[in-house]
Each structure stands twice: as structure tokens, then as C-alpha cells.
Symmetry: C2
Subunit: 476 residues, 2 copies
């Protein structure tokens, strides 16, 4: 029998303005983690969240993480660890979110003040952090309050982990998660993260996979200092000449990675999996709109979604050390560093990819016969993540989406990485679900970030409904 | 019979301290043409020079050039046009130099204040503009004064053209030269420019050739804005992928230009010409010292000098629009512009090279089959220049070098361009000689620019001696 949620939903609707007001207060605190000057505001935002949670009866701890690496004068903002409910009869769900935001300045091109929540006549609520990730974080707070106001028992024990450094590398968080896995997080039966977006604007989704990323530098050096091409052109091996050849050997223009062995690591596509892509709410026009051009690699949505989610890709990002300004400069750069990365998918292990990449580059460079020196190296790596979407955590979320939005959610993966997802899975050993609130047009990280009023209000219903369905699901 | 120069040389030696003092005053005026704030100092330097010349009896005009293009609030500094002597019985030599300097800040790494001439115990005179080009410009002034002090008749009529924008594109100069060729410059029998350097540090040279330069941009664009590689990697054609392939098709690592037809334009190397390189004072160690590495293309000096002077070269300078900072950024740049240039030699005409370059790039890009857009274009071009070293202008200079330095000068070319050289040749139709004063270690354009006291003092003798030998040479 489906959970009885009419009272909860009606209460959320009635409280909508006060929930928007809570988001307005949060957006007004410019908790920009990348900006040292704003560190006080990040802490203030953490304290605001702690106060809201305490007021609702949660046990809250502001966990200090010490000094920021390489900035020893700067304290990291605290991680908010909170528990709401501790009944042994209930399932325990661990939720994660972040209360810091990307930088934002009016002069970057915002139509409104980025730190004043501004709602337009279409219900679009503009403001930095509205969708990423203050809206979803407050979604959990609002769900607790609405249950109290509705006089309903909260269906699960809720563990919360809200950090303040997500937009600046989640400094210190991994260690905390690993440390608390057998302590504060030990009761968790599953994990839910609301920090991503629908694939489009109309249909909700549940996300069960992310690509990983191996990020590389290839440094090629020769002369001791930059040279004038008039004087030295034609007399010396030029690092940039070598580098464009090395970078040109990595991927073809159709996106096929040209590094021998890489494709052998990719899990074969089964007919069953292939069939899943047909029904996903996505069109080629969605792609062309996002690109602002028709320069897609494929002419059908199935192959496009596979290109984004389940096949690896290689992008050349740029060159450090060469001439990069406008105009003309006749320099022979002495040392150039090419940057590229490979988005990885099952079953590409970081080390296996790394071995193939380095062997390929070393071989290509050796074949060039240049007297310059070539040093390829892995800058950083994060593993791909794929969860089982048949776990009760996903089943419950799927039912909640259908209840709130009247439609079965798409089961999606994403092309980018949310490293904390994998950390939670590995540290707790529990199923992790990504349950987005906002839509693909929310412009997280960009100017005019927004969250639609409808996504916020229905999203609060969704988070609550999800917890009720979680309580109802049989063990799987 | 050789000119009698003992009296002149002795006078120069006696006046050396006052000539150094004149250079000290000039260096103290920070006439940085690239810096708007210093424009007043550039004008001040022009006026200083005009006053020195007038005091010695020259007719001097400060020719205004109007406003600086794209900076309509800024007057260009005047060109100093001066004449010393107008005897119809004498040859007339037109000399060119510039009184502006490159930017210089102590904090760039100068060991001494760049605008205070500082002479060390080895006679190295440090200061911005010491060698480039205030020392040589004052060399002409000093030569006039020394003749007066020595009571000697000046051997030629001297026309002078000293500009104040050389380090910032010689704005306005070309038009002036073309306009004055049949007027102020009409009596000129030959041109002498002292604004380059010896090939090494021990042996003077006369320079009779420069390479030209065709500078290109290749712009490749696709999406309307930069994309996140996690979301779009594997779904769209990436401009940077295409660009590295196009740039990789231009030249091989051994410096051979891979654009079909280019090598056919290069004048064949004759046995006679080949024999000239053997005796040039240059060693592979000179190259390795300049490079700070042993990454030379060739293992012998003859081929190395040919690579620098008489064969074309192609350098890839960098990429505009891609990620160019340190660290890692997972961007797919939407529009990237590769920059490269070709140093040209006889008989590579600008237009012929251009046609081959554009055809090659368009063909390579078309073969890639990318949906992106590729626009290659010529940013700017300057033609190569080669003068006849058997002209009396060179013969006279060669005898003067032998008289002053006791050694026959090397006849050299240079790999870079000094565009005004070609303009003077084309506008006046006269032979142009490059007669350097400083040596290869003077660090023009760099920190700790210097001119050796010996090069300055003997250089003043050389400029005067050259004019005497010019007066003595038969018509050729």
C-alpha cells in the first residue's frame, strides 16, 4: 500500500512561502568557498543551517576540519553532522549536500543581484546557490519541518552531512567520511545525494552512474628560456612542434580514443543495456540547444547519451607555457605543457588507463626523434561510479517520483564526476542514490543560476515522499 | 690611399668620458614607447636628441606624425629629421636609428636601476636603451662632435632619421619614409642602419640580409560557448582536437616545413654561397650557450647558420582561447586560435606563401571531416630583404671595420626582421647596410641590457671611419 502523503503534500504547499523565505535567507549569505575574504560568510552559512536544524530538534555537530592546505592562516569551514531521529525500528538514511557556493559578481553578467533571491513571473527563483546546492539542502530541513507541522511521524532516522568546501575541492571531507563511516555514519542503510540535475526540463530522473576522470599533463621542454623565432627558428627543436604532434595522436576528430588498448578496457555494451536508451527523455535538439551549434558527433540520441555516459572520451583542454594572448608574438616557448583528460567508465581502472596513456605518449614521442624532453604524468584521477538501480533505495525513489510528478523517472548516468559519491559508497559499503531537485537549465556555476519554484516545492515533497517509500520497501 | 683617421680616433678616445656622459643622460630619460604614461618622456628624449644635433650645427626638424592609431588621445612622438652638411661635392648618407626603448622595471630582475647607466669593472655599461638603440644613435652625434673637436672636415653629408616608436611597431614611419623619399631623403646615395648586433662577441659583422615573416592564425570554432568535458566529452566535435591535428601537419620535428610547395619557392643553394658559411665566426657552442641546451637541429655550424638565415622555418607559437593556466581545468574550449609563423627567404613572395598555407590548412581540415569551422588567415607579413654586399656601401664599411678592429668583418644575414630596412630600400632605391655596434650578449629587450664601453667607443670610431671610406670609394 502506498504511503499516505496527502497531508504532508498539503502542508508543504501551505508552507511554500516560508520555505522560499528560508532559501532567500540562505542565498543572502554569500558563502563563496573559493574566496578567502568570504570565509566568514561560509562559516555563517554553516551556523545558519545548524541553527535551523537545532530548532527542529536535530542533534547537530559543527565538525572542524583544521586549516586549509597551502593556506595555513585559513580555517576550513565546519562540516555539519546532524541526526534527526534514532529509532532502532526505522531505516536510517544518510543524506549529503553542501552549503557553499560558486563565486558570483553582478558584473559577471547577472541580470539581478546574485545574493538576493529574485523570483520572476514564471516562478524562476534566481540567486547564487539556489539550485546548487542550498535549495536541495534546505529541502531536507523543510521536509522535517513540514512533517512536524502536519503532525506526522518522520518515517526514517535521518543522518545529515553538509559540507562548506564542495566548490573548492571538498578539502578534508574524504578523510572525515572514512573516519566517520564506522562511527557517526555506521547506522546508515543507504545514502542519498541531492546535488545534480535532471537531464532535461520536463522529466525527473534518478542517477545511478558517473564517469571517472584521469587528468594528464604532458610537459615538453628543450631550451633553457623562451627564444625569438626570428633568431632561432630553423636551428633548434621546438617543444611546441613536438607537443601538437603528441596531442594530435590521442583522439580522432570523431571522438575515438587512439591510445592502443583503451577500448579493450571498456565493458561491452549488451543488447539489454542498449535498449534502455530508447526511452530516455532526451532529443538531439536538447543537445544542439546546449551546444549552441549542430556540431554533435552522432545523429541520434541513443549514441549521444552513450557517448556522454557509458563510453570514455578524451578532451584536449589547452597548453600551458605557450603564447595564449590575442595578437601576434614571435616566441618559441621553451617549455610547454599540454593538458588533456580521459573520462572513464566501467571497467577502466585508473592504473590500467594510466599505464596505457604513458606508454602511448612515450612511444609516440620516441618515434618523433626530437632532442627535447617529454614528461607525461597523471595530474589527478577519480574513479567512475555505477550503482545498482534495482536496490530498494532506487525503487523507493522511483515510486516517490511517480507519486509526486506522476511519471516514472528516467534512470540516467552522468558524464561528469561527483567524487564524494564514490567516497560514500566505498566508505559505508551502502547503496548511493543521486536524487536531483533542479533541472538542466538551472545554470549552476554560471550567471543567473536559478531554481524553479515548482522544482523546489515539489522537490520538498519528493524528498519527504522518498523517505516514506524507503520506510516501506522490503529488504532487497 | 686609406683615409687619415689617427687624429679622429685620438679625439674620440680623449672624448670618451663625455660621450659616455651623453649616453648616461639619454638612458636617464625613460622613453618607453609602449607605455602611454611614458609618452612625455619619449618626446623629451626626441627633444634632447634634437638639441644635441642643433648645438653641433645640424638642421633639425621634429616631424609630428599625428595621433596614435586606436589611441586617439595620444600624440605619436616626433621623428627627428636632421641634415648635417649639404655640399654637392660629397656623398650623402642617410642613417636611421630610434630613440625609444623597450619597457624596463627594476623588479623584472634588473641588477641595477634600468634608467641609470651603470658601468661595471669590466666596462659593461648597463641601462635600458644602452645598446638598443641610444648608443648607436648617439654614435652618429658623437662622430660629428669628434670631427669638430679634431678640426677635421666631415667627409659626407649626413641625413638622419631617428624615430620614437620602433619598439611599438614604428607607427607612422613607413608613410613618412615613402613621402620623404623624393624630398628630404632625395640626395641619399646609400643608407646605413645601426640597430642590430654582432653574431658573437669577438668579431664585427656587416649584415646584408634578413628573413621575412608571414604570421598566421587558424581559428577553429564549434559550440557557442565553452563546455564541461564531463557533460559534453564524447558527444560533440571538439575544436581543440581538430586544431592540434592541423598544427601538427605544418612542420616536422626536424624543422622541415610540411606544407606542399613551400620548399620549391626557396632559392637553390649554390656551391659558391655554401662556401661562405665556413669562415663565419660562429661555433656550435655559441648556439648551445644561447639555447641553454643541446637541442639544436644540426650538428654543424654551416647548416645551423643556413637554418637561421637562408632557409625558411615554421614555429608554432601557441593557442588563444584554450586553457593556459597552471593546474587542471576540465573545459572543452569553444573557439581556439592557433598561432604560427613562417620565416621567409628569397624567393618566397608573401602572396605565394599565403596561397600555399591556406590551401594546405583547408585541405587538411577538410580531410578531418569535422563539423567545426576552420578559418586560417594571415595576421601580418613582412618581406625578406637581401642587399648586395659588393656595393661600395658595404666595401667602405668593410674597410672601416678592418681599420678600427683590425679584422675583416663577417658578412652575415639575420633570421629575424627589421622591417624599416626593406622600406628604406624600396622607397629610396638605394643600397642599405646594417652596421652593428653592440655584440650578441647585449640583451636588447631583456633585463640587464648593456653596451660594452669598448663597443661604444670603437663603434664611434667605426661610424666616422665608415663615412670617410664612403667618401673614398669609387662609384660601383
Amino acid at each position: 500500500m502506498a504511503p499516505q502523503l496527502d497531508n504532508y503534500f498539503a502542508t508543504v504547499d501551505n508552507m511554500a512561502e516560508s520555505f522560499i523565505d528560508r532559501l532567500r535567507k540562505a542565498v543572502a549569505i554569500p558563502s563563496v568557498s573559493a574566496d578567502e575574504e568570504r570565509r566568514g560568510d561560509v562559516v555563517k552559512m554553516g551556523e545558519f543551517l545548524a541553527t535551523e536544524l537545532r530548532t527542529l530538534g536535530a542533534e547537530v555537530e559543527l565538525r572542524e576540519l583544521g586549516k586549509q592546505p597551502h593556506k595555513e592562516h585559513l580555517d576550513l569551514p565546519p562540516v555539519i553532522l546532524a541526526r534527526y531521529g534514532s529509532s532502532p525500528d526505522k531505516r536510517t538514511i544518510l543524506v549529503y549536500g553542501h552549503y557553499d557556493v560558486q563565486p558570483a559578481l553582478k558584473e559577471d553578467g547577472w541580470a539581478t543581484d546574485p545574493f538576493t533571491l529574485t523570483v520572476d513571473d514564471k516562478g524562476r527563483m534566481y540567486g547564487r546557490g539556489s539550485t546548487d546546492d542550498k535549495g536541495p539542502v534546505l529541502g531536507w530541513v523543510n521536509a522535517i519541518e513540514a512533517h512536524q507541522k502536519a503532525g506526522m511521524e518522520f518515517p526514517v532516522n535521518l543522518l545529515m552531512c553538509f559540507e562548506g568546501m564542495e566548490e573548492y575541492g571538498s578539502e578534508g571531507l574524504d578523510d572525515l567520511i572514512v573516519e566517520e563511516a564506522p562511527k557517526f555514519f555506521k547506522d546508515a542503510d543507504a545514502v542519498c545525494i541531492s546535488d545534480n540535475y535532471w537531464l532535461g526540463t520536463e522529466k525527473p530522473c534518478l542517477t545511478y552512474g558517473l564517469r571517472g576522470c584521469n587528468y594528464y599533463s604532458v610537459e615538453i621542454s628543450g631550451p633553457a628560456q623562451d627564444l625569438h623565432s626570428g633568431v632561432f627558428g630553423g636551428t633548434a627543436h621546438e617543444p611546441m612542434t613536438d607537443l601538437v604532434k603528441v596531442l594530435g595522436s590521442l583522439v580522432d576528430v570523431d571522438g575515438n580514443i587512439a591510445i592502443p588498448g583503451i577500448s579493450d578496457l571498456v565493458a561491452p555494451l549488451t543488447d539489454e543495456e542498449k535498449a534502455l536508451y530508447k526511452d530516455i527523455a532526451f532529443t538531439m535538439d536538447n543537445l544542439y540547444e546546449s551546444l549552441g551549434s549542430k556540431t554533435g558527433l552522432f545523429d541520434n540520441k541513443e549514441r549521444t547519451l552513450m557517448g556522454r555516459w557509458r563510453f570514455p572520451s578524451l578532451s584536449v583542454h589547452g597548453v600551458e607555457g605557450a603564447f595564449s594572448a590575442g595578437g601576434a608574438k614571435t616566441v618559441i616557448p621553451a617549455k610547454v605543457t599540454g593538458k588533456f583528460s580521459i573520462r572513464t567508465v566501467p571497467n577502466m581502472e585508473i592504473e590500467a588507463v594510466d599505464a596505457l596513456v604513458l606508454a602511448h605518449i612515450n612511444k609516440v614521442f620516441a618515434a618523433l626523434g626530437s632532442k627535447n624532453t617529454c614528461k607525461p604524468y597523471l595530474q589527478h584521477a577519480g574513479k567512475w561510479w555505477v550503482a545498482s538501480p534495482s536496490h530498494w533505495n532506487f525503487t523507493a525513489a522511483g515510486k516517490a517520483v511517480e507519486h509526486v510528478w506522476g511519471v516514472k523517472p528516467d534512470l540516467t548516468r552522468e558524464g561528469g564526476s561527483i567524487p564524494v559519491t564514490l567516497t560514500f559508497e566505498q566508505a559505508t559499503g551502502k547503496n548511493v542514490l543521486l536524487l536531483p531537485m533542479g533541472s538542466s537549465t538551472d545554470a549552476a556555476h554560471s550567471v543567473n543560476e536559478k531554481l524553479d519554484r515548482k522544482n523546489y516545492v515539489e522537490g520538498i515533497k519528493l524528498l519527504g515522499a522518498y523517505l516514506h517509500y524507503v520506510a516501506d520497501e522490503p529488504m532487497s
